[in-house]
Symmetry: C2
Subunit: 235 residues, 2 copies
DNA sequence: CGAGGCGTTGAATGGCCTCAACGATGGTGG
DNA sequence: CCACCATCGTTGAGGCCATTCAACGCCTCG
């Protein structure tokens, strides 16, 4: 099911962090010119295609990752094989922080779209954060953000009937993407995010379309009626 | 519903961290003798009774908390009033880390048992962690642990039919408590943890008792048949 | 053109929720 | 001391909603 990809295959160049287009929002936002000179190992950039796996649960890694564009899903499995998507990693997010603590990755990280990443060696991040308090705080913030997201998934996306979960997910997607147009996921992923079956996900989406809550634009693109979705929720 | 308690009412003394019985597992485990001399503000200790609230969601705080004994629940609310327990905080755990980032608390923290806590002023923790890399790492570890817990709640306790969720919860409780005896929660809390109604929780527990998976010892104490619970899960 | 993946839809079952009643328990006040 | 009340756990009945199993159309790709 999962597509393995060697590091070399996905490699797409070395980064120059000083010139990064994400500088303001990136992990290294607070760094000074002089700090960059402390980076001895190169920062590799890689490009993943949809379905390709960045890392696997249980594997010890020595890198953490910043998403430059695209999106990853973090997947956990139960012993019986059931899977659950516990979080999405979007542009400017960081994942694989476990590596900083010498711990194995806790999820499978799988690309949902063509996804560009920077690979930050743990040694580099540690060296920089030991010297630089701002980076240190930035790391805490990333961790905190991940935790907030996790809690929100539990309360918003795993509580109540299927139609409410889907409505809340759609509203989150709208919020994150700026406009009312959203790129939806495959029905199977939808189910794994919300703890429902693919059939229920499909049926509910279809019903939303018929009721005008969603307008299909083709290629899994939809236009959402935000007001009606909200109204559905506070009844 | 929630019981407010003033800080003064719950105050039960000042701590001497050097002599703390939790020294090895506590947040300050890595500190040196000399570090403790840097603590200028006193570390207050407080005692909460079941149902009392430690802090509320949305409130800005300047303390974080270490649980010395007892247990807290972290509760989040949806706009429509539905509540969800997103995590439990047990002895040696830390909560309220949001305060370190100048952010409002994200949950209601409510005692489920008589609970002893240490209140650590953010200023103190910041001062110490700026100087002490071990404490710094320790903070990252706490955050990581909280995140792992959050993910586990999603995959294990919010996935699958009610009987499986309860079985997995029981197994977690057994694991955490050492022996096969567990102190169960009120049915309402059970429901709020697992995303099911109190009636379903009650019914399932009653069924487990009839089937011999649980043995009632009185006062919400039960003895769990671990093997049978596991068997129930891998079918 | 055939195969396989994916989304959709149908029918039937069953599990969970809703609403309701009832017993046990514990605390309060007469 | 006991009647009273509130809370909590339990159980029942009924109905809805999600799951299960199945079939079918559409699309891409080999």
């Amino acid at each position: 099911m999962s597509i393995r990809v060697t590091f070399k295959e996905a490699w797409s160049g070395e980064a120059d962090c000083k010139l990064c287009t994400l500088r303001e929002s990136a992990l290294f936002a607070g760094l000074e010119e002089s700090d960059f000179e402390q980076i001895h190992q190169p920062i590799d950039q890689i490009l993943l295609q949809p379905g390709q796996t960045l890392y696997q649960a249980g594997v010890m890694g020595d890198r953490l990752f910043t998403v430059r564009s695209g999106m990853l899903k973090l997947v956990q499995y139960l012993p019986d094989g059931a899977q659950r998507i516990v979080r999405l990693v979007k542009a400017a997010d960081v994942t694989g922080l476990e590596a900083l603590l010498k711990q194995a990755y806790e999820h499978d990280a799988v690309a949902m779209q063509p996804t560009e990443l920077c690979c930050l060696p743990v040694a580099t991040v540690k060296a920089l954060s030991g010297r630089n308090p701002e980076l240190h705080i930035e790391l805490l913030k990333r961790w905190h953000r991940a935790l907030s997201e996790a809690d929100a998934w539990l309360t918003e996306l795993s509580t109540g009937p299927a139609r409410e979960r889907i409505a809340r997910l759609l509203l989150r997607l709208v919020r994150d993407s700026g406009g009312p147009e959203v790129l939806l996921f495959g029905r199977e992923d939808l189910g794994a995010m919300l703890g429902i079956t693919t059939e229920t996900a499909s049926r509910t989406i279809a019903e939303f379309k018929r009721q005008g809550l969603l307008d299909e634009l083709g290629g899994n693109h939809y236009r959402a009626d935000v007001d009606q979705l909200k109204r559905l929720l506070d009844e």
